[in-house]
Symmetry: C2
Subunit: 483 residues, 2 copies
């Protein structure tokens, strides 16, 4: 029997089982979240006690729902799950998200037995996500992981699979903040039925997913999993964050999702063989995904780095080398031309280019970027924007920093440069002003990030992070090209 | 002739040379900044054109200042600097900060000659900071680097020396945000006279400085510098960020501060020999300084890691290993006692301890930390607080997140744990919610950080960063102990 993923990810009729009338439980949180995310289908509420929630009647059993359902969301006590799941299957549900915990992860006989019962029911035709999970986030259909009423409602190219629900919610929130948008995210917890390999195959063929990200603690079947990555990575980038590669980490994995880890070296070598991109933290995964989601699908080995602050140029150069990026010095004639339009003294334009101060007008910076792009070796340009320094200028002008900082002009000008030259421009927007008396700067930086992203320009907090992300992009596109 | 550092860092009478009446120039920015920082001495304004600034008369020459001066701040055109400097010397100034650029860093004959003239005058008794620098930040006396009117007015144990002015202002701002406080910071730019070695010797004996941080691009005299570090590191921790260790980085150094870099391996080995702590970025330097400034002066090899989210425990364990930290599993009896007071199912207490959800009450967390501290191997505890999740609870409660998140209770309870057990508690406060619709969370996190710091508890954004900082602390105190 074929799995109807369409019904699971884009359901029209959902049963939420385990809604309490008090309004602060898991179940009612789900209903709130589905509404907040704009879920447009029908939601049926179920609780043996009956009653109503905000005017909607609560049915005593799934069996009382008129007609069929597409998806069930189950948040009842572990002991009650198998019976509820079986009724959902009979109601025609293609799948069920089981948020309840109290199964195999406890290591108790009862928990293990209950999980086995879930698998048996799943084998009869209803696909299970969980138990002990946060479920599905799919902005297009209005599904969201728990507790995620405030995740982005915009869809995007990033697919994500994770055993850990906490990792899913953190990645979804981070993504929202930095401009990553998701196609489908699945937190599958214990993975009693649907898990990494099958979901990965699904995302590999999913036209809505352009880049696949995975947080893996343990895997059920190593051979099948690596074969699935190999196949997926031929179609689109696959980024893998494997948790638990240290001894202590492996122990933590066991108590978290009851699965076995694996050695650092084996994972590293296998991931390289199947052309997956390996990352080592959530921030690194987010930044790599941002590079893949935003930049053209090709490697960028030689780059220019421009911005305010000579020390940033030094740091750029230092950070580029370990990631295999080159910052080739410009020809003297080009350097001189660039220096000719920059403030003197204080600037230098050898590549890295130090523009001398944070207040060089956007029009001049545009010219600088256009000139730098004339070097035929340059494939991508990074601009380090010290917008946070406009706080001082705002003070002098007696205006809010978000009014004074010229991020709208910068975004338009940099987009024009990228369009005109065919060489992408990436922005690094560091902000050392983050304390209580600089919340206005934090807001301005968030606004600026939004505007840059709206212009299709990737924004990183930190230069090192930008270079590392581009390094991952290069490794993938060169690896795939050399197959 | 002995240098009067006391007069340079705590001047009573300052001449600011190069003040323009328009009010937006360098000079007037300095005056504004000195006043904003609470400088309590006398400021004399100088500009050949005369006039007045906010009611204070501008004198045509330094010679017109009645009596002597302690320190001069010079922001005139490069060509005019030597003459001004000589007059300041005659006025009895112990030192001068020369903010002007246009000297050796240009590589021109004129620039080199002007800088040589500065050195000649300095050799006759006035010590020079700069040129091409941002000068001194000393909260205690009210001196601040340019442009720094909004740096912290609180003093603290961190001393910092930097060729780069941009690095100085960024570190000062970062420090203000994360709770680092400074004794003295010097951006010495081209370092024509006073520079790394002599200033380092000064900070090594400065009772106000407990930890020394350095950003170095190039050095004037390698043997003297490393000898000075060796001596300083016997007295207090010395943290070194050497920029320009890659080929491209070395090139960038040359155009930034006209000094030569050096090879990666040589620096690494020399710094290890002299017991300095080597860091590779500004964030890493800030976090290491925070650990040294906040934690007791000893190594912490075995730690507990506690918090919400099983994946964080996995990440903790993975990150600890490379930094030589151990997270030893608790005895089963202790684990069971801890699990007995945590929410079930969902928690696990093997170390790392997963407290199951972000809403466990502070009183329970306090008990958990007290129990974990009973393990005699544990020397320090890290708590990963998912306060950002209180956004959802705030929504349900219809209250601001800063009212709902219990950081005040947490801070008081964790301080009590640290006091009672003699084992420091460190907080990791990650915040994936940083976008425009979560500025309330950003504010709450900043408030929480402030409250934790007020209780003497170090706060890191990220677990990996906390572990790396503690790793540096261990390396230093073990290295020094084994001498």
């Amino acid at each position: 029997m074929q799995t109807n993923f369409e019904k699971i990810f884009h359901p029209q009729r959902i049963a939420v089982v385990g809604v309490s009338t008090e309004g602060t439980g898991f179940g009612s949180g789900i209903v709130y979240s589905l509404n907040a995310m704009g879920f447009a289908g029908q939601i049926f509420l179920v609780n043996p006690k009956g009653g109503e929630l905000n005017g909607t009647p609560i049915l005593p059993s799934v069996a009382d729902i008129p007609g069929t359902i597409d998806l069930a969301i189950i948040a009842v006590q572990a002991r009650a799950v198998p019976e509820v799941l079986e009724v959902c299957r009979q109601k025609g549900a293609a799948g069920a998200e089981i948020f309840s915990s109290g199964f195999k992860e406890l290591g108790t006989d009862e928990g293990i037995l209950l999980e086995r019962q879930i698998v048996q029911i799943a084998n009869r035709g209803i696909r299970v996500i969980g138990p002990n999970c946060f479920g599905i986030y799919c902005p297009k259909s209005g599904l969201t992981v728990l507790p995620g009423p405030d995740l982005s409602r915009e869809s995007g190219p990033v697919g994500f699979l994770s055993q850990s629900g906490g990792m899913a919610i953190d990645f979804a929130n981070t993504g929202k903040s930095i401009g990553l948008r998701f196609s489908k995210m699945v937190s599958y917890g214990n993975g009693a039925d649907l898990r990494e390999t099958e979901l990965l195959r699904y995302l590999a063929d999913d036209p809505e997913t352009g880049v696949i990200t995975l947080y893996i603690e343990g895997i059920a079947d190593g051979d099948a999993f690596f074969a699935a990555i190999r196949e997926a990575a031929r179609k689109k980038p696959v980024i893998v964050y494997k948790g638990g590669l240290s001894d202590a980490g492996a122990r933590a994995v066991q108590s978290h999702t009851a699965s076995m880890g694996g050695s650092r070296r084996i994972w590293q070598s296998l991931l390289r063989q199947v052309k997956a991109v390996q990352v080592r933290s959530l921030p690194e995964m987010s930044q790599a995904a941002l590079a893949f989601a935003t930049l053209p699908a090709r490697p960028f080995r030689q780059i220019s780095v421009l911005g305010g602050g000579g020390a940033l140029g030094v740091a750029a150069a230092d950070a580029a080398e370990p990631f295999g990026l080159r910052i080739p010095p410009f020809e003297p004639a080009l350097s001189r031309r660039i220096e000719g339009i920059l403030p003197r003294p204080g600037s230098s334009a050898g590549n890295p280019v130090d523009v001398a101060n944070p207040f060089v007008p956007p029009k001049v910076l545009k010219e600088v970027l256009l000139m730098a792009a004339e070097d035929p070796r340059i494939e991508l340009q990074i601009f380090i924007s010290l917008l946070s320094h406009y706080k001082n200028m705002a003070r002098l002008a007696g205006q809010p920093v978000k009014t004074v900082a010229p991020y709208r002009e910068l975004a338009a000008d940099f987009k024009a440069v990228a369009d005109q030259t065919g060489k992408p421009v990436v922005i690094v927007l560091p902000n050392p002003r983050r304390g209580l008396d600089h919340l206005d700067v934090v807001e301005m930086i968030a606004l600026a990030r939004q505007v840059f992203m709206d212009h299709g320009i990737a924004v990183f907090d930190d230069l090192h992070e930008a270079l590392r992300a581009i390094g991952h992009l290069n490794a993938y596109y060169e690896g795939v090209a050399h197959e």
